[in-house]
Symmetry: C2
């Protein structure tokens, strides 16, 4: 059980974090996820953290890193399911998850990704017509 | 982290089992899942076991129980992501997960659920016209 499963749902990937993240697990997840994005050409990544009771600076940084890596591979990341208490602690710790998009739950995250993918398509279209 | 999260995706619920199941966790999952089916009126449940390296008689029985409970609440269950090695061991142990439907991955499981929900709707329609 040393791997966090990555589920493919249409053109999105879904990761549910349920266990305490330690260094090696975080590295494995980053590697697996970037590989899966490259293999599948996924356009979006959803990371569900509804099980996590604590998000410390380590996990905060990991979420930021995953989000940046996915962006370089042309996929958007949305972190979903954060508990209210976690949001409070994060801000009190001075962490605001800069560069990480969030949504209340998986469904809202999917909607967010799909609408931003559609608008990205439109922008690509516009850029094309300007060129 | 004593709870396994249940994610809602449209009219389906998705459970990813990543940790070793012990008695209490299995009971909590059964309780949470039946509550969520009742609350949301979900028509289908997907249980992803792609992280599990071993499915013993305890987990096999739990999957069967969840499937039966969901059926009583008018929801269908599909177990997805079983590793080939797990399938081999299961059969060697004399367990064949009777009454549990399976699919190779989450996407195929969703397709299976949606097509069986559509045919159930049709049958309801037929029964209605016969009455």
């Amino acid at each position: 059980m040393e791997r966090i499963p990555i589920l493919r749902i249409g053109d999105l990937l879904l990761v549910t974090i349920q266990v305490d993240m330690h260094d090696q697990l975080a590295l494995t997840l980053q590697e697996d996820l970037t590989n899966r994005i490259a293999e599948t050409g996924a356009a979006g990544v959803l990371i569900d953290i509804s099980s996590l009771e604590i998000v410390d600076s380590f996990i905060g940084r990991m979420l930021g890193n995953i989000s940046s890596m996915a962006r370089v591979l042309a996929a958007e990341t949305v972190v979903v399911g954060m508990r209210p208490a976690v949001a409070i602690t994060l801000v009190e710790l001075g962490l605001s998850l800069t560069g990480v998009r969030t949504a209340l739950n998986v469904e809202k995250g999917m909607d967010l990704l799909r609408s931003s993918l559609r608008s990205a398509d439109r922008e690509d279209g516009d850029a094309g017509s300007e060129a």
